[in-house]
Symmetry: C2
Subunit: 261 residues, 2 copies
């Protein structure tokens, strides 16, 4: 067990790292070079600049911790503490000027999420959580209220990621069935859907075809807010593991996850 | 023809009206009462408070103009100038704390759009346009760049409204076909999709099953930014007319509208 004072230290440091990342993103917004990666997703020089900033900040403060980042791979994979980084989640949105991208940081201890931060630079919003400390949106405590007797799932807004990602996991039939079954399904793709679910604005989100760093901040953010997080899919593919997860208000998560099992 | 100086006056007044509306919305955020309307959409006391504020501001400044509002019907329907109001577009989002709702104002002269404003109070963003004056995002000129030779529609992000609204117009097959045909279709429903299309962040949006006030600001906003606006559907139903439209970058609008004709 990690002492609460240590979690608080990690949490405060993670907020500081996110603040440095935000400065890099905002300074480079609209001035980036993009290129296609091997998996045919986009990367920009801003993704790389942000990850370099995060890595050097983490190494300076916690030289014996490990780091896994989307752009630069693993450092100290044997360490108990692992920082998991997505410098720019929603690069497609970033390159098009859609303001719903973000920087993701998770700190895991032996695979267990301790701290999570999702920062939305263009919206000026930062969501953060620490195990046992609670979840916060710019300092305000988040508390997800589950459905109460008489509340209906149809009164919620649901969220899913891009259909192509579901299709890559064989989950397109589930995606299509949710679209038909519910009157308000929004594809607020990438991290904006995760933060909307963590604060209970959308009832739940199903996100498929995503990697470790896309999810590393989400579980602790959702659970510390009182939500339910279910990992519903996991498959190794080409040396990497691809995940699916459903998270948000517990009753809505149970309803939504049935389309994917 | 309306003199440019008159359009400028109307435009400046519309910005002032939107500012007053924003204050009402922000003061009432999170403190509202909601109820179901006859068409089974939600309305809140904030919708009504905003429309009352807009109506009294318009009547004071332009006593001989007409007004059509979502909540309180028609005033002076015979007037040449008509202000068309949606006090809170995206009420479902507003009631759930999803920040992508907005206040919509359009001024039409004999049916022709002269001025359009879409205000996003929770995002602190205001989009506005006047015929011959250009389109603006918080004062910065918007210019939509069309696809250039070598650019592909698949590289754009596309946007659609809620599927249930398409289904109500018999356009669900088009919705589903777009979802399958394109790798990045986002349902950024309601006015947030309109403003993302007006600035070229999404390549184009298709929005169906919507009313006059949902569209009253959009055409001039898109066209003055250099985009293309097509009305692709119109049907009277239960005393009201329901519309479908596709708007954004011209080449993307032409591609997307083929799914709905």
């Amino acid at each position: 067990v990690i002492p609460a004072s240590d979690v608080r230290t990690f949490y405060r440091c993670a907020l500081g790292f996110a603040q440095r990342a935000r400065r890099v993103v905002l300074a480079r917004r609209g001035r980036f070079r993009k290129s296609l990666k091997a998996d045919s997703s986009w990367v920009t020089d801003v993704d790389r600049a942000v990850e370099r900033e995060l890595r050097s900040s983490i190494l300076r403060r916690f030289p014996d911790h490990g780091i896994v980042g989307e752009e630069f791979g693993r450092h100290r994979p044997e360490a108990e503490f692992q920082w998991i980084l997505d410098p720019l989640d929603g690069t497609l949105s970033f390159t098009h000027g859609i303001p719903f991208y973000g920087t993701l940081l998770g700190l895991h201890h032996r695979g267990r999420p301790l701290v999570g931060v999702i920062d939305h630079p263009a919206l000026g919003l930062r969501y953060s959580a620490g195990l046992g400390l609670g979840s916060f949106k710019d300092g305000a405590r988040l508390r997800v209220r589950d459905l109460e007797p008489g509340d209906r799932v149809s009164g919620e807004v649901l969220c899913m990621g891009d259909r192509a990602r579901f299709a890559a996991c064989g989950a397109a039939p589930g995606f299509d069935a949710v679209m038909r079954a519910h009157p308000a399904v929004r594809t607020y793709a990438d991290c904006i859907g995760h933060t909307l679910a963590a604060e209970g604005a959308v009832g739940a989100m199903a996100d498929y075809g995503i990697k470790l760093w896309d999810l590393a901040a989400t579980q602790v953010l959702v659970e510390e807010a009182g939500g339910l997080y279910l990992r519903t899919y996991e498959r190794r593919s080409g040396g990497e593991t691809v995940y699916g997860a459903v998270f948000g208000k517990p009753a809505v998560v149970r309803w939504l996850s049935r389309f994917f099992t």
